[in-house]
């Protein structure tokens, strides 16, 4: 071809830990035994939280809930590398991220029970509230990164979103801003193969989501999202790069939404049992367990112990969540503006 070639790209995929629990030692990040156990415990805690949320929802004690089942490694593995000084802009399916960062668990239940007080992050944690309108929070992440850069704060900003979110215009504008201003932001996509009933292949005709980053002049990489070591390594590299001021990275974590979209959805209407069964074999927790067993880090009693501990933590969180006084109707008015307007003051007299 006599035409000129202007640019060329390659899209890479990182895998370290396979479904049998074996690792590629050449890629394995350095993690102490304690760190690996901590990760494992967070995976178990996340799954315990999730199962309890579904139970509570069935009993009418929570509202509609979005399960994280199957996505725990993506969430724990990535959040594991985040520092207190970093800022995080989640979507709505990141309970494992909140928990890894130490967000008060009872507040998560409070939120899912329909109480916005659950969304008030503790002072020492720079995590934004759950974001319902899909794709919109990535721009806030870019903005925070811009502010951090302006203030010379050597932090990273991390934002989470799903495969569906990549179709929204705001995704595009956020990625473009990040590229143009070389912002310290790490975009983490939980590609769980589904956006409610739309499969990934019909969300976009691109073969990978990772390749979308090149449209904005920065790097995208695909990871096995059920491989906690790949997630950890990929996000750690990206976050450190961001903290060094070397610009954004896009990480596509390929994982799977094992349950329905939410408790209000019935995934059997639109996807095959076989697909779900196939992904069960790639379970992120099982995989880490097999690895740990091989390394002598996992035993039956250990499993029992951490399951029991998780259960206690979750029991306690539910108890606290459910013993909180219901919000006062006046609460509706308190946070519209710093000070209520004349009209609001009049309206508040109804209570």
């Amino acid at each position: 071809m006599p035409e000129k070639i202007l640019e060329s790209f390659e899209i890479r995929r990182l895998e370290i830990l396979d479904p049998k629990g074996e690792v590629d030692e050449s890629l394995m990040p350095s993690l102490s035994a304690d760190e690996i156990k901590k990760m494992y415990e967070l995976l178990i805690l996340s799954r315990t939280f999730d199962q309890r949320a579904i139970d509570l929802q069935r009993e009418g004690r929570l509202g509609t809930y979005a399960s994280i089942l199957g996505q725990e490694a993506t969430q724990v593995g990535s959040a594991f590398t985040i520092k207190k000084s970093d800022w995080i802009f989640p979507s709505f399916r990141e309970m494992g991220v909140y928990m890894t960062l130490g967000y008060p668990i009872h507040q998560l239940y409070q939120y899912w029970a329909g109480d916005e007080r659950g969304l008030k992050a503790p002072k020492d944690l720079n995590i934004f509230p759950i974001c319902v309108p899909i794709g919109t929070q990535m721009l806030h992440a870019a903005g925070a990164a811009m502010a951090a850069k302006y203030k010379r704060d050597p932090i990273a900003v991390i934002t989470y979103f799903g495969d569906g979110a990549t179709s929204e215009g705001d995704f595009h504008e956020a990625f473009n801003m990040a590229g143009v201003f070389k912002l310290p932001v790490v975009f983490i996509c939980q590609n769980n193969h589904w956006a409610i009933s739309l499969p990934r292949e019909r969300q976009t005709a691109a073969k990978t989501l990772a390749q979308k980053a090149y449209a904005y002049g920065f790097e995208g990489i695909q990871l096995d999202g059920n491989d906690i070591f790949a997630v950890y390594k990929g996000t750690k590299d990206a976050i450190e790069k961001a903290r060094r001021g070397e610009g954004p990275v896009f990480i596509e974590c390929v994982t799977y939404r094992m349950s329905s979209h939410t408790t209000a959805d019935d995934a059997t209407r639109y996807r095959s049992k076989e697909e779900v069964e196939m992904w069960k074999l790639k379970d992120p927790i099982l995989r880490l367990k097999l690895f740990m067993e091989r390394k002598g880090l996992w035993t039956e009693p250990y499993q029992k112990e951490i399951e029991e501990r998780s259960r206690q933590i979750i029991d306690e969180a539910v108890k606290v969540a459910e013993s909180v006084e219901p919000p006062h109707p006046e609460d509706m008015f308190t946070y519209t503006y710093a000070k209520p307007t004349f009209r609001q003051l009049k309206q508040m007299e109804d209570f």
Partner: protein
């Protein structure tokens, strides 16, 4: 005649219109195999195939933007936006294009598009799933805004909307989807856009509402004699004549809506009366509405929404006046 709820009535209208006119196509998020998150399009994908019941990527501006192109080309798209709160990313396509293309092209291109979307509170759903932003759309010339309140009228109004040569925002009160069943005939019938209906006649007070609030109003007026209740049904353009006639008769008007008070559609109704029918009014025009706050999450939503008590209190106030 079958007893249908609103989901079924709307589904029936869609099915019949698609059978009648091959140019009618449906598009939106999860409208196909899944039948829509509220199952309003259930069975249509099976019947009409994926070329006519189109699952789109997650992109509201995209959905309405391509709908405008389809409509201009000669189709009659019925786009579903999953919740009215998710029309916000698509407002530019509605305000700058759907409502203007007839004007901008001096009639050469038109936009016979229906945007169906659930609206309103009372279903204990997450943020942005319970919005009532109807007034925003009523302010934009070039679009019509329709809000049915019962299955029977939902079907007739939707058929009219699909056949209308201009873009129609068709707001479906989520709380009503499965609340009421009533007889809904099969086959063609329409209810004209721009016409209100008197649900209850009376001489003392006029209560105006639409969608889900109509039922709150009907609950509130139970046991009260001589109260007139108007179901507005089309907000833009609204039926001034019916409103004036009733106001002239009763001299007392109460407007009820879910949206925040300030600049809600109640303001327009009230201002229209204050401008053109003040002479007949015996009392101030009252508005019973949502408060001027962000729609709260489920724990407080019942305090936000107008209640039977608040409506009754307004009725007492207006009579005492």
């Amino acid at each position: 005649m079958p007893q249908l709820n609103m989901v079924q009535a709307i589904n029936l209208a869609l099915k019949e219109e698609m059978m009648r006119d091959p140019d009618v196509v449906i598009l939106g998020e999860d409208v196909g195999k899944n039948g829509g998150v509220f199952r309003v399009t259930e069975g249509l994908w099976e019947q009409f195939g994926s070329e006519r019941v189109i699952d789109t990527p997650l992109a509201e501006s995209g959905i309405l933007g391509i709908s405008i192109g389809m409509a201009a080309y000669g189709l009659k798209p019925v786009a579903e936006i999953q919740f009215v709160g998710f029309t916000y990313p698509a407002l530019d396509q509605i305000f700058s294009h759907a409502s203007r293309i007839r004007s901008r092209s001096r009639g050469r291109y038109t936009c016979p598009l229906v945007i169906r979307t659930p609206y309103g509170g009372g279903i204990k759903a997450p943020e942005l799933h319970e919005e009532s932003p109807e007034a925003l759309f009523c302010h934009m010339p070039g679009i019509k805004v329709v809000v049915p309140s019962t299955p029977y009228y939902a079907k007739g109004l939707l058929i009219s909307s699909i056949r209308d040569p201009d873009p129609v925002l068709f707001l479906e009160a989520t709380r009503l989807y499965r609340l009421i069943k009533e007889e809904v005939p099969e086959g063609d019938y329409t209810f004209p856009l721009g016409k209100a209906r008197i649900v209850r006649e009376g001489k003392n007070i006029t209560l105006v509402a639409w969608g889900s609030m109509l039922h709150k109003v009907l609950q509130a007026v139970e046991g009260y004699d001589d109260v007139e209740v108007i179901d507005l049904m089309t907000l833009h353009p609204f039926d001034e004549e019916t409103l004036f006639k009733s106001a002239r008769k009763t001299g007392r008007v109460i407007i009820v809506h879910e949206a925040p008070k300030t600049c809600g559609f109640g303001a327009e109704l009230s201002a229209t009366l204050a401008e053109e029918a003040m002479l007949y009014l015996k009392a101030p025009i009252l508005r019973v509405t949502g408060y001027d706050v962000v729609m709260p999450l489920p724990k407080l939503e019942d305090f936000y929404l107008p209640t039977v008590e608040r409506i009754r209190k307004a009725m007492e106030d207006i009579i005492k006046y």
